[in-house]
């Protein structure tokens, strides 16, 4: 018994047939957007050229930069008045990306999430504490709607405020938590400090996502909370959460192939790679109405697993994401691009030429981000108040952009080694 027996237990053949049908429809629909019309016309491709799955590779890739260029509504395939929700994902200042949903899209998305949650054992009557931030980030509302659709009792508490989180878990007898793995570790320590054994909370499961973590961390969390911990895969360009989820075997997420066609490509050449080989995940959404995205370069490095899952579902699984094809950082579960920070620093005249971003995880499992900046000689007038103002200005501007409060360290000019490429400007000391 599953949320959607028919779809979840389709044979490979049935999945391919459904994908073909939906791909053809999606391509026709996508061609109505300014963006895809231009993209297709440029390479002389007509929607009618896409007849089956093997034609997919004729379609040019869509990248995050494309989404930025199409900001805000260049990719819509429906009238703007039919859009009922906007989400936006982090991007460089002023160049965010927009994901638009029709009423039907919201419902489809909720259904995918409900399917995931049902698969891991959530039922009506369970209490679901959603400890991810709400707002433009899709992780909060995506799970919220999915859990409500399933019929669970949702506590939309959002992130942070550990004492309140713990009180809610105790008072409402929460059964499932949606939480970042590092925060789950932090919360467990606070619970123990309160004299409570996390095992005694009676949790049925933890849903962890938004942040890379090792299998060792999962095992540790399962031990601490005495419940299964499930990995989730999603990205806002593909609705958000609910793209893929681990089943009861907790051995990497199934991607819902009735909604998403997955490919692995060589991140350098863009050529398709066979199942089992590590490369960049490319996803085509085939069950979206307002803003379908074709062959989206996720920048996530992973592989498609060849072996069948014991659960009986034929929806393909992807391996754990081993890295990124770009320099995106995930801090406290929030996606941060070093270029966002650089843009801000370079717009502040008191900042010199070099900077360094240091990401670390404290003993209490909370991520920290420290920005070390060289100050510009010509703005030093010998006053401490002036230095303090510079520091606050940098801190404030960065917090506004990335939603994380950074620590700022002011340095003398030439204190940092001159940077050769961006990579050296980021130091990640976290042990995942």
């Amino acid at each position: 018994m599953a949320w959607d027996d028919k779809i979840e237990f389709m044979s490979e053949k049935e999945i391919k047939e459904l994908q073909t049908e939906r791909l053809i429809k999606t391509v026709e629909k996508a061609y109505k957007s300014l963006f895809y019309k231009k993209k297709f016309d440029e390479v002389g491709l007509k929607p009618s050229d896409i007849k089956d799955l093997s034609d997919l590779k004729k379609i040019p890739f869509t990248t995050k930069d494309d989404l930025r260029a199409a900001y805000p509504f260049g990719m819509l395939t429906v009238d703007k008045n039919d859009i009922v929700r906007i989400h936006s994902s982090s991007g460089t200042t002023g160049k965010a990306t927009v994901i638009a949903f029709t009423k039907k899209d919201i419902d489809t998305w909720a259904d995918y999430v409900a399917r995931c949650l049902y698969m891991i054992g959530m039922r009506k009557g369970d209490v679901f504490q959603n400890m991810m931030s709400y707002g433009l980030f899709t992780g909060g509302l995506g799970f919220h709607y999915g859990a409500e659709k399933l019929g669970a009792t949702v506590i939309p508490i959002g992130g942070g405020n550990t004492a309140k989180q713990i009180r809610m878990i105790l008072d409402f007898k929460t059964s499932f938590l949606h939480i970042t793995p590092s925060y789950a570790l932090h919360v467990s320590e606070e619970i123990i400090k309160d004299g409570i054994d996390p095992k005694a909370l009676g949790l049925k499961g933890l849903i962890v996502g938004a942040e890379p973590h090792s299998e060792a961390t999962r095992k540790k969390l399962e031990e601490i909370y005495n419940c299964p911990v499930f990995n989730s895969y999603g990205l806002s360009e593909m609705n958000g959460p609910g793209v893929g989820f681990e089943c009861e075997y907790r051995d990497d997420p199934h991607i819902w192939e009735d909604g998403y066609i997955i490919e692995i490509v060589n991140p350098e050449t863009g050529e398709n790679m066979p199942d089992g080989e590590e490369g960049e995940l490319v996803i085509t959404s085939i069950n979206r109405e307002g803003m379908p995205i074709l062959r989206y370069r996720t920048k996530d490095l992973t592989h498609i697993k060849k072996e069948k899952c014991k659960c009986g579902r034929n929806h393909k699984k992807i391996g754990r994401v081993v890295g990124r094809a770009d320099d995106m950082l995930i801090v406290k579960g929030i996606n941060v691009f070093p270029s966002q920070i650089e843009d801000i620093l370079m717009s502040i005249q008191e900042v010199g030429n070099n900077y360094q971003i240091v990401v670390d995880r404290k003993e209490d499992y909370i991520d920290t981000i420290k920005i070390r900046v060289e100050i510009s000689k010509k703005f030093f007038h010998g006053k401490l108040s002036e230095l303090k103002n510079i520091k606050e200005k940098i801190q404030h501007s960065i917090r506004e952009e990335i939603m994380i409060n950074p620590e700022i360290e002011l340095l003398e000019p030439q204190a940092l080694p001159p940077s050769e490429g961006k990579a050296k400007r980021v130091v990640d000391l976290r042990k995942i």
């Binding site: 100050i375 000689k377 030093f380 007038h381 010998g382 006053k383 401490l384 230095l387 303090k388 520091k391 360290e409 002011l410 340095l411 003398e412 000019p413 030439q414 204190a415």
Partner: protein, 135 residues
């Protein structure tokens, strides 16, 4: 007018000794200094050298520095003499940003309005030091 050199320093070992060594090696005498530490990893080291132009020349290449005007006054070595100076400033609504001791019973005063500061101190017969070499 007395010239003071402010040097931006990260709280790292050896910084102050490096600066004093450079000046000492070049026969520049530090007539007084202070350290403003923010407790946040950086601070300002202030010095009043006898040959300030030469000191500026030596330091500006490798350090973030700023040369500013300060007032230096001679105070008698007896009870109440510091108060006398500070009271003149406050009576005349001149704000003192910071102060520290120089050699030979002279104090350095950084005020928000130097011209007025000098004027009111002179009017009250406080002995002002004219330049760095006279400290």
């Amino acid at each position: 007018m007395i010239k003071e050199i402010s040097i931006f320093v990260e709280n790292q070992k050896g910084k102050l000794s490096t600066i004093s060594k450079i000046l000492g090696d070049n026969n520049i005498s530090i007539k007084g200094f202070s350290v403003d530490d923010t407790g946040e990893g950086y601070g300002i080291f202030r010095i009043v050298p006898d040959y300030w132009e030469k000191a500026e020349e030596l330091l500006k290449k490798d350090f973030t520095i700023s040369v500013n005007n300060i007032i230096a006054v001679k105070v008698e070595d007896k009870a109440g003499s510091l108060y006398k100076v500070l009271k003149i400033l406050s009576d005349n609504k001149i704000n003192l940003e910071y102060t520290y001791l120089l050699a030979n019973s002279i104090i350095a005063l950084k005020v928000d309005n130097e011209i007025n500061g000098i004027k009111v101190l002179k009017n009250n017969n406080i002995e002002l030091i004219e330049n760095n070499l006279m400290i």
